[in-house]
């Protein structure tokens, strides 16, 4: 075997998948060719060192919670959750206009329709459409570059009667990843009215260790003490003992532990 014939086999050599007879030919060549032997030695060393690099550690519980929420949302028929619970900007950019159109149509319909004691099916349908539009607008606002627009999106959720799981996931996403502290604080308030949902309580507990702002950490502790109780005891205990944390946060965690008994 000559030097140039060695190269096609080096990937198999590294992976340990060389056929025995080829391995023998390669070894034979290396015994007589210093250049190839030196090259393979270097590659082997690099390959071995690569194998000692540990994998990036995933935050599996938080990722699983988000996956479960997305799956629930999908099952509920909201198949356009799309990117990570954060729909693309363009996807919903038309929805503000559409919501306005529905509102105008609603007012026109209201004027034409005489009030009756029974519930008008058309009005019910319109109300459902309006609710859906509000949800879409909320999702759209939460995607905006501007923090004040995202704040509007968060506060818009208060106008939605029983937000669906897609909105819930979007709020949890915002809590996890929004770079703006004010947006995250507003999100905590918005999530309070959804705290009867397991996925929200779990999501908020998961979000706590990921926050770096003491303000947000304290607001989250307030939330979970009030809404989650014993569910959050372990997280609070860890927080109360973490010396890297802000002193006020630790003190609030200690107080929270006492409150939940």
């Amino acid at each position: 075997m000559r030097c140039e014939e060695i190269h096609p086999h080096l990937a198999d050599h590294l992976a340990g998948t060389l056929l025995p007879d080829v391995a023998e030919q390669v070894a034979e060549h290396l015994r007589t060719c210093r250049a190839c032997a030196a090259e393979i030695e270097g590659l082997d060393e690099t390959w071995q060192l690569l194998g000692t690099i540990p994998p990036h550690e995933a935050d599996s519980p938080a990722m699983r919670a988000r996956f479960d929420a997305a799956l629930d949302g999908f099952r509920s028929g909201f198949t356009n959750t799309a990117k990570t619970g954060r729909p693309g900007l363009l996807t919903y950019s038309w929805l503000g206009l559409a919501a306005a159109a529905v509102l105008v149509a609603g007012v026109a319909l209201g004027r034409q329709t005489a009030p009756t004691p029974e519930v008008d099916p058309q009005l019910t349908m319109l109300r459902d459409e309006l609710r859906e539009m509000r949800q879409m607008v909320t999702l759209s606002l939460l995607q905006q570059q501007s923090a004040s627009e995202r704040l509007r999106g968060v506060s818009f959720t208060s106008q939605i009667d029983q937000p669906d799981s897609e909105v819930t996931v979007a709020l949890l996403e915002t809590l996890m990843h929004d770079p703006n502290v004010n947006v995250r604080l507003a999100t905590i308030d918005a999530l309070k009215r959804l705290s009867t949902r397991d996925v929200v309580r779990r999501g908020v507990i998961d979000a706590l260790p990921r926050q770096t702002s003491p303000l947000v950490q304290i607001a989250l502790i307030d939330f979970i003490v009030e809404k989650s109780g014993r569910e959050a005891a372990e997280t609070l205990r860890r927080f109360s003992m973490d010396e890297m944390l802000d002193q006020a946060v630790r003190a609030r965690a200690v107080q929270g532990l006492q409150q939940i008994g």
């Binding site: 390959w47 990036h56 996956f67 479960d68 799956l71 959750t81 990570t84 990843h177």
Partner: protein, 195 residues
């Protein structure tokens, strides 16, 4: 139950089985995407995105096809879409590469740790297609045949590229070992941060 059997069940409407596939593959995907984006948050988001895409496009899964190959094809597309909507990262200042891994005590870094850290830096300076190959073969343990199927190229081409990628990685590693903060060896268009 094999991945393929689970995915077939998901395709046929048993969506709960996707939970098992998530458990088996989310950590590997997260590692792959962390290497390819240099951003933990983006990697997490992309993992979610991938599983949502699986739900949406489950009917396109074909019997007999390797689930893992199909999964990583979706992952590559999701990652490509991610960078299509974002500006490439600005190259980091040299000092940024001198930071030890989070939580590590610089005083206690042993030689092996320093080499590992240097090799990580070298990986992140490697061109993306080469880094991807090395992550798939060395970290994800994919066979050359699987990688060929995933990338749509011949097995021979995969082997040659792996050889070149390891060689180039070593060159960057040695260059960094000489004290250079970064090495301009056909460098990546995006310089990523160690995470």
């Amino acid at each position: 139950m094999t991945d393929e059997a689970l995915m077939t069940a998901v395709r046929d409407g048993d969506l709960a089985k996707l939970g098992l596939l998530f458990e088996r593959h989310h950590a590997g995907l997260f590692d792959f995407l962390s290497w390819m984006t240099g951003d933990r948050t983006a990697a997490e988001d992309l993992v979610q995105d991938i599983f949502v895409r699986i739900l949406k496009y489950r009917s396109t899964y074909r019997d007999g096809g390797s689930f893992e190959t199909w999964l990583y094809r979706i992952a590559r597309n999701a990652r490509a879409d991610y960078f299509r909507t974002r500006q490439p990262l600005e190259p980091l200042a040299a000092e940024a590469f001198e930071r030890p891994e989070p939580g590590a005590n610089p005083m206690r870094l042993l030689e092996a740790d320093r080499d590992r850290l240097r090799l990580k830096r070298a990986m992140l300076q490697l061109r993306e297609d080469k880094r991807e190959l090395l992550v798939l073969t060395r970290f994800r343990g994919m066979s050359h045949e699987q990688i060929a199927g995933l990338l749509g190229i011949e097995i021979g081409a995969v082997k040659v590229r792996i050889h070149r990628a390891v060689k180039e990685l070593r060159d960057i590693f040695l260059c960094l070992s000489d004290g250079n903060p970064s090495c301009d060896v056909k460098r990546s268009t995006r310089t990523l941060q160690i995470i």
